[in-house]
């Protein structure tokens, strides 16, 4: 069960709504993934095109919770104003807080992120910060009131998977009570399995599903991958060993001779 600010969810997958080939494929991918939470954004509305109005009708039909983001914001001030607009527009205190530092890596700007998190948590927002695996930033975000941390695996849309797995493992160990969700950089279902095997609570995806050759089937594959990884974690993984160890009993091996043992 995924816990987010007192709410429980069966699915541990959060799904982005951008870049799908069509609205119908988006709808079918959401259904195939089993997700109960989709991310959305705010963009400038044209009085003529009224693009946002049609998109909102589609999202309402999905019957899932929305998690608005502050994608594209470069400063704490921009992110705070965007979160405030999102709260009014979507009627939720949830916000996926993004403050972006760099166009090439799309990495979080941690100083602005912490500044914005402090303000928004004080205003009653339930903040899900897109962060790195940095422990000091994580400590400050939790101190600000964040009950969820969303470290990246690798740059947004890069599909590289877990670039710093030991650091993600360390983050899990340091924050056993905080909901941890890997957000960004996953490309294959096996990446999601790896995340879940680390004991993470969930995964947030968009590009790996939306840009797959068959997004609906990929959504189903990721759902299964998350479930497999979570079950693996709960079952207790064995520790890797440097040397081989026979699984078949050695005692009673036919043709055994003591002088062959090294």
């Amino acid at each position: 069960m995924l816990k987010l600010y007192g709410a429980n969810f069966t699915s541990r997958l959060l799904l982005g709504t951008a870049q799908y080939p069509s609205p119908d494929i988006l709808r079918r991918a959401v259904e195939a993934s089993g997700t109960e939470i989709v991310t959305v954004s705010l963009r400038r509305e044209s009085a003529r095109a009224r693009t946002g109005q049609g998109f909102w009708e589609l999202i309402e039909q999905l019957g899932v919770r929305v998690l608005p983001n502050t994608a594209g914001c470069r400063t704490a001030k921009e992110a705070i104003a965007t979160a405030q607009m999102a709260r009014e527009l979507f009627g939720t205190n949830w916000v996926k807080l993004e403050v972006i530092a760099n166009d090439d890596t799309l990495q979080p700007e941690l100083f602005g992120l912490v500044e914005a998190a402090n303000v928004l948590c004080a205003e009653g927002f339930e903040v899900l910060p897109y962060t790195t695996e940095d422990l000091s930033a994580a400590e400050r975000l939790v101190a600000a009131g964040c009950q969820v941390l969303m470290p990246w695996a690798s740059p947004i849309g890069s599909a590289r998977g877990l670039m710093n797995k030991p650091a993600l493992k360390t983050l899990r160990a340091y924050f056993p009570e905080t909901t941890l969700i890997v957000d960004a950089g996953l490309g294959a279902p096996s990446h999601a399995t790896e995340v879940m095997e680390l004991g993470y609570d969930g995964v947030l995806l968009n590009t790996a599903i939306a840009k797959a050759a068959d997004p609906v089937t990929m959504a189903s594959a990721f759902a299964k991958a998350l479930e497999a990884g979570r079950q693996g974690f709960e079952a207790g993984l064995i520790e890797p060993r440097d040397m081989g160890t026979p699984s078949t009993p050695v005692a009673g091996t036919p043709f055994f001779k003591i002088d062959r043992v090294s």
């Binding site: 954004s41 705010l42 400038r44 509305e45 009085a47 009224r50 946002g52 527009l89």
Partner: protein
């Protein structure tokens, strides 16, 4: 009066933000607003007077990751 709406210069006779949204055809639309980088709640649009140097943002729901 000429103001900036979503980065574009627009001439308007609206005196406040609520009138402006109506003038642009946004009455009843699912939008949120900001002036000069600060959020303006829907209930405060009518009492938010416009000035020629104002930069207005009018946003709506969109796809996001």
């Amino acid at each position: 009066m000429q103001i900036l709406i979503n980065g574009e210069p627009v001439a308007t006779k609206a005196r406040n933000l609520d009138e402006l949204c109506g003038e642009l055809g946004f009455a009843g639309a699912k939008i949120a607003t900001a002036i000069n980088g600060s959020f303006v709640a829907a209930v405060k649009r009518a009492s938010t007077e416009l000035s020629p140097t104002d930069e207005i943002e009018i946003v709506s729901p969109r796809q996001g990751g």
